[in-house]
């Protein structure tokens, strides 16, 4: 029994930490997909790109991966700016809402980035070095019950939570943040208010992609990365964003922790190889039963 409680507690703690980390990976998609209705299916692969930037800066220059992520963030902002410009000119400008072509566009982008990384770095798993990687804190709670908290997960959790809360504050408290949320609700009204909705969308999309700078760095802190693992994160991030209610930042955080705990429990009691089925399973279930997510108000499936 003690062993069971021990396993359960450890799984819960790791799951919550993992959830915070997943929130940082999903927040960008919550903005681009949830608020702007741009289905950036390449988001996980852009995160991998961020992870490789952190890897290069860490292994070549020797700076801390989190600092590397912060340095990379403005560049990812620029990258996102360019992607949206291309997307807008190709698909949104003409007025016809052919979202399927947009989806194919991002699907193609996913493969371009992934293969680019494979050609440059190969398919080996890469990792970064930092003082907090590899050690863990042991908290003894009783006889045969102690909770191990890996510092790498703790660091990821803390940074992710700060980033998520900062974005949430930005979106709810500032004028521009409110404009972004207004774009999601009523573009016409925004235009009548004298705000250029395209400019707002462009900046917001770039912000969403910019999160890949820091998110990617956290990714490679938490576990070794190779270019094609991005595909597996499609399940995680989309499950979280849809479950969180498309664009609700607090909802995203809660959904991320739900997914993190579910994955951690399944990994502990059934084996880690079942983990991918958890997020994709939850995603499928949510889509089939409640597409508007746990916290969404509008009907989904449009």
């Amino acid at each position: 029994m003690a062993i069971f409680i021990d396993l359960l507690l450890n799984a819960l703690v790791v799951g919550i930490l993992l959830g915070g980390f997943y929130a940082a990976l999903s927040i960008g998609l919550a903005i681009t997909f949830g608020l702007l209705d741009v289905v950036n299916i390449a988001h996980p692969t852009i995160l991998i790109l961020g992870a490789f930037v952190a890897f290069v800066l860490n292994s070549q220059v020797g700076i801390d991966p989190i600092l590397a992520g912060l340095i990379a963030t403005p560049f990812f902002y620029g990258f996102g700016w360019l992607i949206y410009q291309l997307y807008y000119n190709s698909f949104e400008k003409s007025g016809e809402t052919d979202s399927l072509r947009g989806l194919a566009f991002f699907f193609g982008l996913l493969f371009i980035i992934e293969v680019g990384l494979i050609i440059q770095f190969g398919v080996d798993h890469r990792l970064v070095e930092a003082p907090y990687i590899g050690e863990s804190a042991n908290i003894v709670l009783g006889e045969e019950i102690d909770v191990a908290i890996p510092y790498r997960l703790l660091v990821a959790f803390v940074v992710a939570t700060i980033a998520t809360l900062a974005i949430r504050a930005y979106l709810t408290k500032t004028f521009f943040g409110r404009a972004v949320r207004a774009v999601a609700q009523d573009m016409m009204a925004l235009r009548l208010m004298g705000v250029d909705p395209i400019k707002v969308k462009r900046i917001a999309f770039a912000m969403g992609v910019a999160t890949a700078g820091i998110g990617g760095a956290l990714m490679i802190i938490v576990l070794p990365i190779e270019p094609s693992v991005g595909r597996l994160y499609i399940g995680n991030v989309f499950a979280i964003v849809v479950l969180g209610g498309l664009g609700s930042i607090s909802g995203t955080l809660v959904a991320a922790i739900i997914i993190g705990v579910a994955e951690s429990l399944v990994s502990t009691f059934f084996g880690p190889s079942w983990a991918p089925a958890v997020s994709f399973g939850i995603l499928l279930l949510v889509l089939a039963v409640r597409p508007e997510g746990l916290f969404g108000k509008t009907a989904g499936g449009h």
Partner: protein
């Protein structure tokens, strides 16, 4: 001529048969099989994606279900190739029917993401199913001297085909021609017009009395079954199969890219796309590197959705 298309189909099939008897270079059949498989995949994808506007991201899942149905049947009953095609199609068709019910609530991108999720869940399940090899995969050795209706099919001296590569090539040629025929038939039938109406506006179609759910279910079932048939001989063709290669997202991106590049409006588009893109990829993976062929697909897909929404077919229509 009323049956011109059917006659051309038959001639092509005869041509494929003659090729297996005349051409000695096995490489032709090796590459030909892959391209024909992609013709089936692209055509199948287009029935749902091009005609009805429902994008399937999980094509690899259907293909792999066909492939693993064969593996299970080989292990269980030791069935021959023709039965593998039939059962691969049936099981993947049933899966297609299941995904059809998803369209009840999911449209557009939500449907696309759901199909991707489905494929990955299936992959995880197959990877844990030891009977068909689990995550490590399994080897499949084709029967030594298979007979069909009393005729020795594959044998170096006395068989109709000298080896399995030629036999598989011929079977896949038949499947590809059959798929294109079905796609063309759908396009010209009431079913195709109904699916087009769904693509334009599902609500409007519903209001006009189009039985949208029934049509969608038929489309997902046919599309799924075709993909299953395309995947059924995969294990015999490679003589080895594992979940990672069978469920490879490469199949999914190709199944989308080929019709998009060729043109999604008619059956011609996927065929052109599959032949051009499949050929280019085979060429690239042979002479340059196997990573590069995915890069080609990605770049072409992005370029075509941006500058040529109608694909190659749309291009020609415009210039005329």
């Amino acid at each position: 001529m009323r049956y011109l298309f059917e006659i051309v189909c038959l001639l092509l099939l005869v041509l494929a048969f003659v090729a297996t008897q005349v051409i000695g270079n096995q490489f032709v059949f090796f590459v030909g099989f892959v391209i024909l498989q992609y013709v089936v995949m692209a055509t199948a994808w287009n029935i749902l994606g091009g005609y009805a506007g429902y994008v399937n991201f999980g094509s690899a899942g259907f293909l792999a279900v066909g492939a693993y149905t064969s593996v299970a049947l080989i292990n269980f009953l030791g069935v021959g190739l023709v039965e593998q095609f039939v059962f691969g199609g049936i099981i993947a068709g049933l899966l297609g029917l299941g995904t059809g019910y998803l369209t009840l609530r999911l449209r557009g991108v939500y449907f696309a993401i759901a199909t991707l999720a489905l494929a990955i869940i299936l992959e995880t399940i197959v990877a844990h199913w030891g009977y068909v090899g689990g995550a490590a995969g399994t080897s499949i050795l084709p029967a030594r001297k298979p007979e069909l209706l009393g005729v020795l099919v594959v044998d170096r001296k006395a068989g109709v085909f000298a080896n399995y590569k030629e036999f598989l090539f011929f079977l896949m040629a038949g499947v590809a021609i059959g798929s294109v025929w079905v796609a063309r038939w759908i396009e010209r039938s009431k079913l195709g017009r109904g699916l087009n109406a769904i693509k334009d506006s599902e609500e409007a179609a519903e209001c006009m009395g189009v039985p949208t759910l029934r049509l969608k279910l038929i489309a997902t079932t046919i599309s799924g079954a075709m993909m299953g048939v395309a995947g059924a001989p995969l294990a015999s063709y490679l003589t080895f199969i594992d979940p990672l290669s069978a469920f490879n997202l490469e199949y999914a991106v190709n199944a989308i890219a080929m019709p998009m590049i060729g043109g999604t409006v008619s059956w011609v588009g996927p065929v052109i796309g599959a032949v051009l893109l499949g050929g280019a990829q085979q060429w690239a993976s042979l002479f340059i590197s196997s990573e590069l062929n995915l890069l080609i697909v990605g770049v072409l897909l992005v370029i075509f959705v941006i500058i040529a929404p109608g694909g190659i077919v749309g291009w020609f229509k415009k210039s005329r």
